[in-house]
Symmetry: C2
Subunit: 437 residues, 2 copies
């Protein structure tokens, strides 16, 4: 194995950090147990260098956080400048107002903005504001929204509620039992589920969803959700943490012409520097003043300046257009490649973040793990999703497709000979959440 140092350090990490990583999706076990490089020394553009000095094309972009690519020179220069000038003080940073004005200009329905430094906490702020405004505690939600109590409460009393949104079988240990019944899930594109929730629960104060993630909205789904929110008086929150900035200059909802009452941005907004923004209508956002929402590090200016620089560049370089084009090229290429080698590969999702899965029932996960192993040997970090970035160019896709062509050849033979497990040099990757020891 040529990435021994990373494998060794990961084993050490699990002894001193519960779960090994701060993010479930960055655990070695989610990709390639006992073989994944796990740690980086350097990252630039599409490239990552591991602790042994191996260089990879990283198709995961820090699980989508860096839309421009790693260590973008324009964003980095803006950040380093404010570090030299001091990134925090007792006084506030004026860039907060500039960014608020920009976000409200890009989203003409929004009037006011609050900031945080991570997606999960930004969603908790949005929920607090929405509950404060509506005076009602119950939430109907769809999709993935982080780790906080309001969301995990969905699994209190029924640990299948978060199955399709977060993970199967999650036991919400440590979430107060008094929150039972406060978060009720509905499925994407199934308006009747939301209708049913709202008609059975007169006290739904908040509706929360990703405007889209893997599928386009069908039959005016978003418009219908908006109408239900209007009719019931619920605050509508769009979680744009993952999809935002990939389809349009701001929230994906801009593309579909349906406006929420609050939208939340994190990941994509600042190219890998901790930052989050909660934008919303004035009458609702002002409810933040009827409760207490305050934290020291929300006032520092690296995140604010990184967001300004990232948004500026995404607009300037027409980044969503690039993501669409490169992602489309990848999806077409992979479909062709799979067809050529007679591999049952499902290529789905949106062009800026195409999704791959191997349609082999229970064996699919082992085949996927072997694919990850063989792509790693060819110096690619791959996962179920490819996050297109501005740094990922046609030449990288061509190189990827050449590597996939080789791997699919090997994979096709292994499937035929029933040798997938035998070729795998470690365990199969985990599906969802497992305790690591």
């Amino acid at each position: 194995m040529k990435n021994k140092k990373g494998v060794k350090l990961w084993n050490k990490a699990k002894k001193i950090i519960p779960g090994g990583s701060q993010l479930l999706s960055k655990r070695a076990e989610m990709f390639l147990p006992e073989q994944w490089p796990s740690y980086f020394k350097k990252a630039k553009g599409v490239f990552v260098w591991d602790l042994d000095g191996n260089k990879y094309i990283d198709t995961l972009a820090s699980i989508g956080a860096c839309i421009l690519g790693y260590a973008d020179p324009d964003v980095n220069n803006a950040v380093k400048k404010v570090i030299d000038q001091g990134n925090i003080s007792t006084l506030n940073c004026p860039e907060e107002i500039k960014l608020a004005e920009l976000l409200c200009k890009l989203h003409s329905w929004a009037d006011m903005v609050r900031y945080a430094r991570g997606g999960g906490e930004a969603m908790a702020i949005a929920v607090r504001i929405a509950r404060a405004y509506s005076g009602k505690d119950k939430i109907a939600f769809c999709g993935y929204h982080g780790w906080q109590d309001w969301y995990l409460a969905a699994n209190l009393g029924n640990n299948k509620n978060l199955k399709e949104h977060l993970l199967p079988g999650l036991d919400p240990r440590g979430v107060p039992k008094g929150l039972r019944g406060t978060a009720i899930p509905f499925s994407y594109n199934k308006i009747e589920e939301l209708e049913n929730i709202v008609s059975k629960n007169k006290d739904i104060g908040v509706i929360i969803m990703e405007p889209l993630r893997n599928h386009e909205p069908m039959n005016n789904f978003l418009q219908k959700v908006r109408r239900i929110a209007n009719k019931s008086g619920a605050v509508l929150i769009f979680d744009e943490i993952t999809i935002g900035w990939r389809l349009s200059y701001g929230g994906a909802h801009l593309k579909y012409g349906v406006n929420p009452d609050i939208a939340v941005f994190a990941k994509g907004i600042s190219n890998g520097f901790p930052m989050a923004a909660i934008i919303g209508k004035k009458k609702i956002m002002q409810s933040a003043q009827t409760t207490f929402i305050s934290s020291s590090y929300w006032t520092e200016r690296i995140g604010t300046v990184a967001a300004l620089a990232s948004i500026g560049k995404m607009i300037n370089k027409k980044v969503p257009r690039h993501l669409l084009r490169i992602g489309g090229m990848f999806m077409r290429g992979m479909k062709e490649c799979a067809k050529k080698h007679n591999i049952r590969l499902l290529v789905s999702g949106l062009s800026p973040m195409p999704h791959l899965s191997f349609d082999y029932g229970e064996d699919g996960q082992t085949i996927k793990t072997l694919y990850t192993q063989e792509m790693l040997k060819r110096e690619f970090l791959v996962g179920s999703v490819l996050y297109v970035t501005y740094s990922l160019k046609e030449k990288h896709i061509r190189k990827y497709l050449n590597a996939a062509d080789e791997v699919f050849c090997l994979l096709g033979q292994a499937i035929k000979d029933n040798k997938v497990r035998a070729l795998l040099e470690g365990p199969t990757a985990h599906v969802g959440f497992k305790r690591l020891t």
Copy 2:
């Protein structure tokens, strides 16, 4: 007024950011309404420059966040280096293990570490882990612990519970009513209050407190709390966000020889770069794996590297010793100065963060505001607390005492002539929480 730009921008901010600032303690109204500079262009060491180019000695150190002083060259260089090398990727940053080992070395009772990027969210993580471990939802707490639901729940049904810990009269709008009764306050140094809570509530799973803040523990208070936690099986969490790193190399509890089960650090650990760490005993920390605690930005490496550099320098330069010495000099000087001018000034608190208050009953707040106004004219940013930093040297204290001498002369006369309000060029500063329009 020589700081017009900041005053103007603050008025604009309040129209686009609910409450104007992300931190209650950075609102102009908390210091000097309609006169406070509010925004900074540059910060270095003890100095801050406002938007009009005025230079101040800032005695508040970003409300205590920067123990080394602003834009510390050693911390900044470490941070800029990792920005050049990429601050995030799909792989994890190896510095996480180095920092975890250092924290466990400094706190020999701790075995495992998790990270976050802010104090409020770090406390919510600690609470989740402790509740997951104990299986009980109820919390007994003392002190200030941020904005999250678990804490504000104390005021559900009784908005006086957080009076002495956070703010008077806070209505916990937006906090789910199902959390009522889950957070019960006790007062510092009053062991009988905690005893009473634990004997009346058999289901207290967690005890949370700042090991100290404004007063030293009396009559073995910390030892007694530890014994109650042991006896009741509650997880003991020390919130070291404010006091940590000021009295010792790590948590203040090290100085008192009482170990918690979990300790939480933020603010002081990384000299103004967003970072937080939750450290704890293995059997308890591993409960993080029985629930879902995961967020993208907790994996970036600026915070981690800033913490390593800050801790290294605090140890190397024996910073707690400096804070004690300078703070002691300030406290003695202020007491003398007040005595000389016959001002009833109470100088209290610990040397690294002395507290000032004017003992004039209802008039105290107006006198304090006039003091802030006159110190601002003499190019000092002052508040109720002075946060000593490594950048704050004897010469700055001498300069401060000279300015205070002038201002106390003026103040003494104004009090005598009943002209305090007349000399104030704007409204009196707010006490606690008020809606801003």
